[in-house]
Symmetry: D2
């Protein structure tokens, strides 16, 4: 991937501000770790109240963090007045999310004027220091302008 | 769709029991509404703490409910000793999830011995009584047997 | 699905004309069977020169017919001067495509101004008259206007 | 990606033999360029008889080559007596396939006993020597054993 030039020099602050307005992140414990042009990293811990029937993090929790990482990766490259909406995503679950910690990364594959395509990867960081890929996502993201209900 | 014959006559109770063990459902307020062979309906309300930056339910919340509906729809047709794991899913987000209430349905398209394919639809029930399709999912679900960490 | 009102009263002829310009259809033997607002049916026969290593139709051949059915289903509801482009699709392959005949249907789930979402189903028609669902698709389709290289 | 050890030391010949039995490859002009453990590259030229209505290669043609690259990438890591079947794939189309030449690569992300997940990328090689990413795929591939109709 070549480095990308953001349209908006304030892209990092704008991304952090929008992420902070996603109330679901505080509820689930998803934190914003890194913001770069076309790339965002979030983190999430295994919590018992977010598990499915076998005690792993529910696939939907991993999908939530991946979707946020992918959406905001696209958002870093958008104009200052644009909003971001996910049109669709696909997730493959490669291994159970046992925790204790996940780091989830979104990287823009194509930044279009209207449509961006972003790949996400969720890594599990295990106590011994090992890193394991547990899920991948591809998300199709739309740049929204001129809509009062969808901004930033 | 032709009606389907479940392998396990206790499929409904088995499904309700497993759903009750998914702690994420209580956390997010996802409730199990209907269980039939090859079909499951869950419900979910808009809650401010589950929203994204525009005040809509986060796509990951809708995906969580859809994944549970799809997974358990497949589970109703599995043998009594089988566990269920989602291999992958794809979601299309057709309209913002404003609430106040979502009903989410999973219907099995193909029940295979190892692999099942399930379609999901999320409908928003608006105050005036209107019902609107806001998201669709296709999920690929695996039947797991003989693994101690994945049962029921 | 409620019946849909096409923007363009000439939608059927416009769709047939565009389909006829897709040279791949003649090459692979894909034919346009039905055109209705928001719904298109195509057909395709098993041919030995389109098979994979086990003698079934290659998944890509089924995907080609499904993508055309989905894209043109969206096209029927577009303005007269619009072009259609597939942004992405996902296909689930439920059973091997043995032939002899496939009928493939695309039905619009959401017709948006820019983005449409279309579901496709491929049915195998077997000699005894049985009909079997062998593949499903969800496609995200974009309405293109004002681009010289993409029209009709 | 760490290098992977194939189960079958004859993986390369086995892959070339199976690819040669896919008659669709000869029909569409898809050629096998590279075979390594967990990675396969195929090539394909733009041909007028494979185009859609705007003169670009039809999305289904790109999907066919990507599916073959992904399926055979998984196949390189399978036991000698296994067959390979695609369960599902998703493709994002990033730019029109104008040609003249495409190189399509499949790389295994996870090689499981039953389920493998493979990422594919299609690059367009333009006359000036530029290389452009025009499509990405994620494919879920199944290892099949003990079925007479699906081997190698």
């Amino acid at each position: 991937m070549t480095p990308r030039e953001p349209h908006d020099p304030q892209y990092a602050q704008r991304t952090r501000d929008s992420f902070a307005r996603q109330r679901v992140n505080a509820t689930l414990g998803i934190t914003l770790e890194e913001v770069a042009p076309g790339r965002v990293v979030v983190a999430m811990a295994h919590r018992p109240e977010l598990t499915q029937q076998h005690g792993f993090l529910h696939a939907g929790m991993v999908a939530t963090a991946l979707d946020s990482a992918c959406g905001y990766a696209a958002f870093t490259l958008m104009p200052a007045d644009a909003g971001v909406l996910t049109i669709e995503f696909k997730i493959n679950l490669l291994a159970p999310a046992r925790g204790p910690l996940l780091r989830i990364e979104g990287v823009v594959k194509k930044a279009g004027r209207q449509i961006s395509v972003v790949d996400g990867e969720a890594f599990q960081h295990e106590p011994g220091g090992e890193r394991k890929l547990i899920a991948t996502m591809t998300a199709t993201i739309m740049t929204i302008t001129g809509r009062d209900d969808v901004r930033h």
